[in-house]
Symmetry: C2
Subunit: 478 residues, 2 copies
């Protein structure tokens, strides 16, 4: 039917024209950062980097993608969230899922036996994007690798986490802490078969979101534990309390399984860890929580997770732990390691909310100090002469060309640019420029030569210049 054909062509034409006219989109779960958001982000990264550097860490940057084999077998069930690159010939690669595995790869590849490193970078996960959850987000990681015989690195990593959260100043928090080996001891003692340890752990880990009855049903109905075993698990994992106190209770009133490995060394390690944290003055932030299990496969010792206190929306802001076998998976050498990872997206959200509450704290998106305003297009070379004098003196400046002076002034006020330098035909004839203090709304003419001389002095700073400008304005008004 030719009418059908012609109709089809019409439809195709409309679709095409819509296609070409519609606005571009971002991939699902990603976003742009601009303006005030960038200022907030820079502030957060500065705080975090300062803490990391203060602990003697080296910076590391790794590629956005790794060979697929590097990431395989590291994330358990979460492996399905890894983004793969298309096979365009050559190697098979995937976007990095976290910063821990690339760090382990780096340490193994370079035969390193000891390293303290920090890394701030984007990671990618094919998760379901939801409110406040993204497929591309930043992680801020600090890790210590090396054959340390003590829990010093574990203690330092927890101390660092408290410094991060204290200095970011984003609300009251607590750090839930547990030990994989203690958990293994408990599961073993309760009669859980070894091959079910990890899957039972992931049920226990849900205790922050579900009731014990709910996870008991999961363990019994779905994972085939008997009811008695599940109940026995319940008597342990419901325990949480102040670290040194709960630890003493466990050590004294505990069952005999706590006197043999793996639980025994776990308790000893935690004892020293808590003493170090007490010395460091941050133990008040820590809660020993026997229900904490953490999803990832690679943890082998201390594990921890920071959460906001009294928050309705539960969820961790940061997490970490010891992973003694991960680096060894890449080479012949086993290098023990422990680290912490801060998910910065939630931090950004909180900082942005804080900003909105406190309007006085409003952050400028740019740092421009001087607006060079010329009043006609043929004066453009003059604008460049004036602005370049500022730029060359390391002063932040912008030019503007427009006939109406009010357009200039309004722009400066709107962008909160504190000073203006104005030149029109009149000023040129007189050999002057007009300096304006935008906030005080005062202005004065100065010989152009003075302006250039002021900016040519060695080591001129904006404060020198502003001082001079303000002094002139004062003398003018007096």
């Amino acid at each position: 039917d030719p009418r059908f054909e012609s109709l089809l062509d019409k439809v195709k034409e409309i679709v095409d024209s819509n296609e070409s006219r519609r606005l571009p989109k971002l991939p699902k779960g990603t976003r742009d950062f601009a303006k005030e958001q960038m200022a907030v982000r820079d502030k957060a990264f500065k705080t975090i980097t300062d803490v990391f550097k203060r602990h003697g860490a080296m910076a590391l940057d790794t590629p956005a993608f790794e060979l697929r084999e590097t990431l395989m077998g590291k994330y358990g069930e979460d492996s399905k969230l890894v983004y793969d690159l298309a096979d365009q010939g050559g190697e098979l690669c995937s976007l990095r899922y976290d910063l821990t595995v690339p760090f382990a790869r780096y340490v193994a590849m370079n035969g390193i036996t000891s390293m303290k490193r920090y890394q701030i970078g984007k990671v990618h996960r094919r998760d379901n994007p939801s409110k406040g959850r993204y497929r591309e987000f930043y992680q801020c990681d600090f890790d210590i690798a090396g054959d340390y015989k003590t829990v010093a690195p574990d203690s330092e990593v927890v101390k660092i986490l408290t410094e991060l959260l204290d200095e970011l100043n984003i609300g009251d928090y607590e750090i839930k802490l547990n030990h994989r080996k203690l958990l293994d001891g408990i599961l073993n003692f309760c009669g859980v078969p070894t091959e079910k340890f990890r899957t039972i752990c992931s049920s226990i880990d849900k205790l922050d979101k579900l009731s014990f009855e709910q996870i008991k049903r999961e363990m019994v109905d779905e994972k085939g534990l008997d009811v008695e075993t599940a109940n026995k698990i319940g008597t342990f994992v419901k325990q949480r309390g102040r670290p040194l106190e709960l630890l003493a209770e466990l050590q004294q009133g505990g069952s005999e399984f706590l006197e043999e490995d793996p639980a025994f060394s776990a308790l000893n390690e935690m004892d020293m860890l808590f003493k170090c944290l007490e010395s460091a003055g941050c133990i008040d932030k820590v809660v020993l929580d026997l229900s904490l299990a953490r999803g990832l496969d690679y943890y082998t010792g201390v594990i921890f997770e920071a959460v906001f206190k009294g928050a309705t929306q539960v969820g961790s802001i940061a997490a970490g732990g010891r992973y003694d076998d991960l680096i060894g998976m890449f080479g012949t050498k086993k290098v023990p390691a422990v680290g912490v990872s801060l998910g910065i997206e939630r931090v950004f959200t909180i900082m942005e909310q804080q900003l909105q509450k406190d309007q006085n704290q409003a952050i400028r998106a740019t740092e421009t100090q001087i607006q060079v305003s010329v009043l006609s297009a043929d004066l453009l070379p003059l604008a460049f002469k004036l602005a370049s004098a500022c730029w060359n003196a390391r002063i932040s400046a912008e030019y503007m060309v427009h006939k109406q002076i009010m357009k200039h002034i309004n722009r400066a006020i709107e962008l909160r640019i504190p000073f203006m330098v104005i030149a029109g035909k009149d000023e040129i004839e007189k050999g002057v420029v007009k300096l304006k203090d935008v906030v005080a709304n005062k202005e004065e003419e100065v010989p152009s030569s003075d302006f250039f001389k002021a900016l040519k002095r060695e080591e001129v700073t904006l404060s020198d210049f502003a001082e001079e400008l303000i002094a002139r304005l004062r003398s003018m008004s007096s």
Copy 2:
């Protein structure tokens, strides 16, 4: 044959064991940044960011990948170098190839009509990796979008490029500059058919690597121009010289085609541009070079490229130009724009070479100021008390646990940590800690309480502390 079976099993075993033992690798054309390289990189980024901010630009960060449709049809022949993500269900995405197209997408998507932005980020290209060429590399971009009626943005972008290269201090350079419309006028005048403009441009663009005879052969033999046309092109594109002088020559002695558009407006724009650059004091860095054509499709006006002077290895360090139609490709609104992109990898290489030459300038990979040294493992909580006092006072500190004091001292010397705080059993009994100036090799015992008091003062800084320490050491030695 059972022997064959058993042999096969042996081979399989060996292969598996080799497989598990071999070291991990990086994807081809990518690299890690660590230690001194990171310090160099941070320094370069700081210099670049300072220049960008000084010109009133806002920071922007866009995702590592975009929808594939966003990148399609923007890069001409280079589209084959775009990295695609695998189709894992959902949208088709590709890693960003540059920062210009994501910027154009951002401007169009947000209905922006005027914006000055900078962006520093990684881009990915499936190029053949070779010496100094990577598949993942950083670009540092500055762009001005908006309906400016003058060449002010073009002038500012070129001025910024001179500031970047001057302040990075990586060697003598020149900026080759041309205008797409002038080039179009020339090609038209020489008799090149419109549909061959872009392909002839890409031949002309090779004049920095090939002789005119070679590109003439390409234009005639491969691209089907007649010899006369090719020769005529030669008389133009061989011209290069000081901007204002060559421009005046063209305007006076030029053919009549220079008196009509597109060449006429190109010459006028360049006239104003050069006057602005003269005013800005940077015209000496610019060469008007009629052979510059630039590969990318999207340029529509002024184009430029910075190269090192007298370098044997030719190749651009930075490039840019005007692209008035790119943003309009994403929306209904046409927003003209001009920008510059600095490829930072070459800059890193040069800065690293400079560092190696000047050993005195050696950069430390960490900033640790104090090493807290305890002499037995059971003193770990004390180490944490001493180190935490430093950390809480915002002083960079590391602890070390080892029986032998020389191990401690050697570590501090090797890592160039200037001060040590030492505590062993003796010191604890006496209620003191030992302070050591590592460089001067002097030490003194101070009451532990003094140490903590010094660090508890409000706004204590390392220089306060060091001053006090040095004063003590001086009084000790006198």
